[in-house]
Amino acid sequence: MSRRTIAAHAALIAYTAVALLPVLFIVMNSLKSRRAIFATPLALPGPGTFDLVGYTTVLASGGFGTYFTNSLIVTLLSLAGILAFGSMAAFALAEYRFRLNTLTGLYLMLGIMIPIRLGTVGILELMVGSHLVNTLTALILVYIASGLPIAVFVLTEFMRTISDDLKNAGRVDGLSEYEIFYWLALPLVRPALSTVAVFTMIPIWNDLWFPLILAPGDSTRTVTLGAQQFIGQYVTNWNAVLAALSLSILPVVVLYLLFSKNLIRGITAGAVK
């Protein structure tokens, strides 16, 4: 191994440690008693300090099953919406010549530059007006809207790389435009779809802002918001908070593993060929 690669690996390992250590501390301390969390926060759980009280509190509090289901529903349906509409828009922008093509693309790209949270007040008024406050639909709609710009942007570039000849061969063979999109184009951009899925899924799962504002009711709470109930103004149940956070990591990790095989290919496509 040359000196260069050693240096590169050292930098990467250091970065990985920085990124993973907080997660490690959360998981580690969630398995300790309250006293041990404060006495030796950096120690691994041992025979004297091991305690599952956090987990039992979280599971006993009852609402957590609902919160998990809510988070899953919101994340998966938003993801489905973003991928479905995003890829269709991307196909249209990449494939068809029409008058406002460039302008439409630029308009969608504005959404990448302007954070959707700037529009929170307007969104809240809209949701109140359409009686969607305290529904999961409100969250799903907002997340689809906020995820679409980046999805369209990334997927359009990938859609452009699909050979015209292939699409034309489909047309000569009698495929409709929908079939060409669904049956020829989509399978070829699958790596890109996975990449977009991962990048949009994680912020949605972790979001606290919109659940707090649009759906704070007990039946519509997401898991990130649900974990906050253990953080009090005066007393915080750290065992429960850490246990709730540890549990909430699991589903995204599973989803990530499902997509990750294609993710690497999506990121490096074109770079190495």
Binding site: S163, D165, R171, V172, G174, L184, P187
Partner: protein
């Protein structure tokens, strides 16, 4: 019409009437008129950007003409979707469906048309037999070589039994040896099937060797259409004269041409001979290409610029030697100041 008459005047397979295409404000094709007889092998040839591929895509229905009409086998094809035009098309990049095996690729269109399963199997086997694809039917395109992929692409067009075959530069992705083989295969295919074929290429050798009729396109216009040998013998203008034939025709302008009553004189390298006697042009050999069967000499002349000469077989002449050149009698082409051939 009796059978004899039908045989003597073949029906028209494809008719283009005033086809015009604009992209935005750019004219890509202007007023293309062409009739193709049934069973003909027609090659569209021209440099890149001349509009030949666009014209093929208009015939296929993948692109709409801005103006003009299109008739395939006597019926108007304007606005008819590609799948309903009775065409089979072979693309430059093969364009096989990556997730279907060879059999799936070839039978997709037939399934779409609702053709019964045993009929599909019959046509599939016949085409596989003809193209030697039978052992490959269960393979995915990624497991095939370039030549095999090209044969599958051709097979996909054959099984549809089209009225019109369209080829869009089918050989340009193949290496040189395979290109010659596939060229011969395509010529054979045309003999066996007898179907009308339209073939697009930028390679004049392909055009000369394959075509019953060549259509030379340049700047969106048909420069000349006719039998290969007619284009070679009597090119309609300077562009066709320079484009057909390899090496390129020599052109001589200036006083020399004016004395012959033309703006430009043209003479092919094979129609110049080296003489020790009365020479029309004299010069010095600047470069020699020795192919064994032929030698090409590039001669820098005093009065006519650089001229290319083809010498059959080998020659002792080399760089730096002085030579005298005479055109073979009757082999000088004359063009007027617009580049049009003079009689």
């Amino acid at each position: 019409m009796t059978r004899n008459e039908a045989a003597s005047v073949p029906p028209i397979a494809l008719e283009l009437i005033g086809i015009t295409k604009q992209f935005g404000r750019t004219d890509v094709l202007t007023g293309i008129d062409l009739a193709v007889d049934e069973g003909d092998f027609v090659v569209f040839v021209g440099p890149s950007g001349c509009g030949k591929s666009t014209l093929l895509r208009i015939i296929a229905g993948l692109e709409d003409q801005t103006a003009g009409n299109l008739r395939i086998a006597g019926a108007s094809a304007d606005g008819v979707p590609p799948a309903k035009r009775g065409i089979g098309m072979v693309f430059q990049s093969y364009a096989l469906y990556p997730h279907l095996d060879v059999a799936g690729n070839m039978s997709l269109a037939l399934k779409r048309e609702g053709i019964p399963r045993d009929e599909i199997a019959r046509r599939l086997n016949a085409a596989a037999e003809m193209l030697e694809l039978a052992p490959l039917l269960k393979r995915k395109p990624s497991a095939l070589s370039g030549g095999q992929r090209q044969r599958v692409a051709i097979g996909r067009a054959i099984v549809r039994q089209p009225k019109l075959f369209l080829f869009d530069e089918p050989l340009s992705n193949l290496d040189a040896a395979l290109r010659v083989n596939t060229r011969i295969e395509i010529a054979n295919l045309h003999r066996v099937l007898g179907t009308t074929m339209i073939y697009v290429t930028h390679d004049q050798t392909e055009a000369m060797t394959l075509a019953d009729k060549i259509v030379v396109l340049y700047e969106g216009k048909i420069q000349q259409a006719g039998r290969p040998i007619d284009l070679y013998d009597t090119p309609a203008n300077v562009f066709v004269a320079g484009f057909i034939g390899s090496p390129k025709m020599n052109f001589v302008g200036g006083d020399e041409a004016r004395r012959a009553g033309a703006a430009m004189l043209g003479v092919r390298p094979e129609h110049l001979s080296i003489t020790t006697g009365d020479a029309r042009w004299t010069g010095v050999v600047r470069h020699a290409e020795r192919l064994g069967s032929d030698t090409f000499l590039y001669v820098q002349t005093q009065t006519a610029g650089e001229l290319t000469v083809r010498v059959v077989g080998k020659t002792e002449l080399g760089v730096g030697d002085s030579v005298g050149l005479v055109p073979l009698p009757g082999m000088l082409h004359r063009f007027d100041d617009r580049g049009v051939r003079l009689p």
